[in-house]
Amino acid sequence: MSLKDSVNNAYSSWMTGTGPDNDVVISSRVRAARNLSHFAFPHMLDDDKAQEVIHAVSLALENRGADCKPGKLEINNMIELSPEDRQILVDKHLISNDLLKDHGRKAVVLSEDEAISIMLNEEDHLRIQCILPGMQLESSWLQVNNIDDELEKTLDYAFSEKFGYLTACPTNVGTGLRCSVMVHLPALVFTEQIKKVLPSISKLGLTVRGLYGEGTEPVGNLFQISNQVTLGHSEEEIVQNLVSVTKQLLDQERTAREALYDDRKEYMEDKIGRSYGILKNSRIISFNEVMSRLSDLRLGIDLKIIKDVSPQLVNELIVLTRQAFLNKEAGKELSVFERDVKRANIIREKL
């Protein structure tokens, strides 16, 4: 799939709704920050130097062995994409918001299945990312590690014996590793247990954020949990810490779901059924309402109350109903009202 296909399609392989523990864990992501040793960090580079960084990485990608996985990786300059297309890549969690700023000097590498993406000249020269469906942090790390090994054969990384991989921001130094899981916790939110759970998570060196990263409010009962500290622990330890905390969260969420369904069966079926009804029949709907209705729908699928909708469709609808995709579909900048109408149309069509 070329980048052009990617931005025309809301689907990305992490959205399949498959993978281990997919009733709670939507996706797992690992990202490693790397810098080249003979260049200043991206924010200090002039445009020519920034292009040299992109060129050096493209050479390293060409040097990868023929049997390397994933196959051929190509660089796409951000400037070649329209603003909507760039935003769609953000909405699909393939690049960060930072790559939209000053986009003339930034680029992205995407694998065919979109599991691997490498951002170039973001805050660091390289940000190697792997995103997989369900609870697959270990294999995400293995894939990132493999690509890192291959690139390292050609590239000279900025590395210090003491501090490890050197990064523009000292909060990423060391392993340069940020692991995160996106979890759907409707029952913990509904029973208000989440208020006790979240503070205890932050005591374990982890951070909780909303769906679209730093500074965003949680919507649709979706939370992103990631490691805070990148120095002093091995990559495996960082991954394992997040895995074990996520497993506990998973158990608590499942227990809460069972208890809710046992105690308040009619109430749950009613809530889920109503949300499904609204999604199928509304003519005007805001993004925030969609997110909370889709959360109910997803819970209904997991509780086997709703059987004719796939988890994949729910994940796709989250991206399809965001501003960038709606504008792209319409071929123009829509007003808030026009968007709410268009959004309702798309959902009715898909359901």
């Binding site: 200090m44 003491k162 501090f163 921001c169 000292p170 392993t175 120095l231 002093g232 993004f287």
Partner: protein
């Protein structure tokens, strides 16, 4: 006053953000405010993380090198400590060396440590790898002894000796 965003409607929502003493004001109409809010734009003043980091360092600097402020620059990329305090981003890999103690204590306050314990690039000399391996084996040895797993401890001790020998041979 017209809304700054659409330039069409009267602004009725006034949003003020103060970061590090810098005041930013945003005057919006109700519709634009609603829209920004639905896109996750938070109407609570947000703490910009990089500024925050910088200000911690800035505080360190003012205590540390008040007399030579501005003179302390990275020799390689030219970034001054003052600029780092503003941006919260270092200029190049060499800054880590060149900003010495100030940075060292900052790294320690962020991560609780200042020693990398993870992956080492293949290309970096084997020496680094051996040293790291020995460190990790030593901590395993301590654990084994603490758990009274003496057989295991003996094995670990032997591996440490072997690596130390290799280190010496390669000098």
């Amino acid at each position: 006053m017209l809304c700054e965003r659409c330039q069409k409607k009267e602004a009725t929502v006034f949003y003020t953000e103060i970061i590090n003493g810098q005041k930013k004001q945003l005057n919006l109409c109700e519709e634009c405010a609603k829209e920004l809010h639905s896109q996750g734009f938070d109407f609570m003043p947000q703490l910009n993380f990089h500024n925050f980091l910088g200000s911690i360092l800035g505080h360190n600097i003012s205590n540390f090198t008040k007399t030579s402020l501005g003179a302390n620059k990275c020799e390689v990329c030219g970034l001054s400590e003052e600029e780092f305090a503003q941006k919260g981003l270092l200029g190049c890999g060499n800054c880590y060396e060149n900003f010495g103690n100030t940075l060292d204590s900052l790294v320690r306050s962020i991560h609780g440590t200042n020693i990398h314990n993870g992956k080492v690039p293949e290309k970096t000399s084997d020496r680094v790898k051996y040293k790291k391996e020995i460190e990790s084996l030593r901590s395993q040895l301590k654990q084994a002894v603490a758990k009274e797993q003496y057989e295991n401890a003996a094995k670990i001790r032997d591996s440490i000796k072997e690596i130390e020998k290799r280190l010496e041979q390669e000098g």
